[in-house]
Chain length 252, copies 2
């Protein structure tokens, strides 16, 4: 049997079985485990299935959710740790502005029972809290920025210029000693309004954002009160931030 033929049979088998172990597949196509392993690597590279430990899995049907929501995101452990650490900074009873983005989504998940009121332009965050009535969620208006479920545009900016909150929790595309940068002008307008609206500004960055510079500048370091990051953040940059009087929390 040719290689292609074998890979096709593997794909077909998985299509019925959802999961399959290496041995299972090896038996099914009559080849060694090593060969199946190689086949799976190629198949995974072309995107027709996903490798797992000990086997392979069918690609999950394209869900209609937003690009992240929860699973399916890089640096998951780190972001979850950042989320927890950031939530612990919040005093009970404070009102919070929450930015959009995957990192902040993880903050939101740890925030539920601490605060009475949050203000956000992120649909995933709104959905997270919308069904419960434990806390009040104010959603800024705006146009949905498709894949991410962020509300952008003048309506969104306006909403934040009218509001005041104790804390704003944001993230960005990159952090250097020159300040914070982000990828899209639409987002930046809103984030600037958020910063102005809040008494205390907390930025969350996973380690991959350190030292990186994104397309457009958002604000200087002087706008930031606190940075929350994970244990893999470069020590030197952390030290330099502290020297500039920024509180840096390293989540672990």
């Amino acid at each position: 049997m040719s290689a292609e033929q074998r890979q096709q049979r593997i794909a077909a088998y998985l299509h019925k079985a959802e999961f399959a172990s290496l041995e299972e597949l090896a038996r099914h196509v009559g080849a060694s485990v090593s060969t199946v392993r190689r086949d799976l690597t190629t198949l995974a590279a072309t995107g027709s299935l996903r490798r797992t430990h000990g086997g392979a899995r069918l690609i999950p049907a394209p869900s209609e959710e937003f690009a992240f929501s929860s699973r399916n995101t890089h640096q998951l452990e780190e972001k979850d740790a950042i989320g927890r650490a950031c939530a612990e900074l919040i005093q009970p009873g404070q009102s919070i502005i929450l930015d959009a983005g995957t990192t902040i989504y993880h903050v939101a998940r740890h925030l539920e029972e601490r605060v009475p009121q949050i203000i956000t332009n992120s649909l995933p965050v709104a959905n997270l809290f919308g069904a419960t009535n434990r806390l009040e969620v104010i959603v800024s208006g705006g146009v949905i920025y498709p894949r991410l479920g962020v509300l952008v545009g003048p309506l969104a900016v306006e909403a934040f210029t009218k509001i005041h909150a104790d804390v704003a929790i944001l993230s960005g595309g990159g952090l250097t000693l020159g300040g914070v940068s982000n990828s899209h002008g639409l987002l930046i307008d809103i984030q600037r309004a958020m910063i102005k609206a809040a008494h205390r500004v907390i930025f969350c960055f996973d380690n991959t954002k350190f030292g990186r510079q994104s397309v457009l500048p958002l604000c200087g370091l002087d706008c930031i009160d606190t940075v929350v990051t994970d244990a893999k953040a470069p020590r030197e940059l952390v030290a330099q931030l502290r020297k500039k009087n920024i509180e840096v929390i390293v989540a672990r």
Copy 2:
């Protein structure tokens, strides 16, 4: 069995059981309690369930968060028929204001490929379109009214007073010859703003709303251009509406 497979089975089990203890899960997937514990931690980090002491609890899936979404609703056949009929009234290219509520959600589902732009205060509707970028969705701001996922309050009213659209599609709690009524003042404020903002006003009522009167009056019959209903609507009332120069579409 691979780790992912096991985690999926845990998630599936919880989907039926709401709660489950560690031992229960361990027995069900044939792994040790330690392993299940670790699995639960990962699953909780992705947000698919919530850890509790001694077990885990289900988190409602995003599509089912709000009280209705699509299934789990009375008069499903009728509402779907109304939704399709109402969507057919829309000319390609028109901009649409969509009210919240289960009936209108069904309209939205049939609207996707007809219009370039919709404006809504319903989170379920926003979620429905938010992940695609086929059409522009403008979300009014506001406070989330918990169970239904409607955005209410001054921010929402204001958003609709600034906007203009070709068509507004609304529903209400009751329809009599005296006009339309609804259950909540917060909703009524917004609906009035929607009516003012649109050139043409379409109301969708399933048959149970005919002849009923809800708590608060919303508007008179003179505000309505078109009513869409289902085949079980009382003929007499339909006839009387037509006599008053209202276009009545009966979906079947």
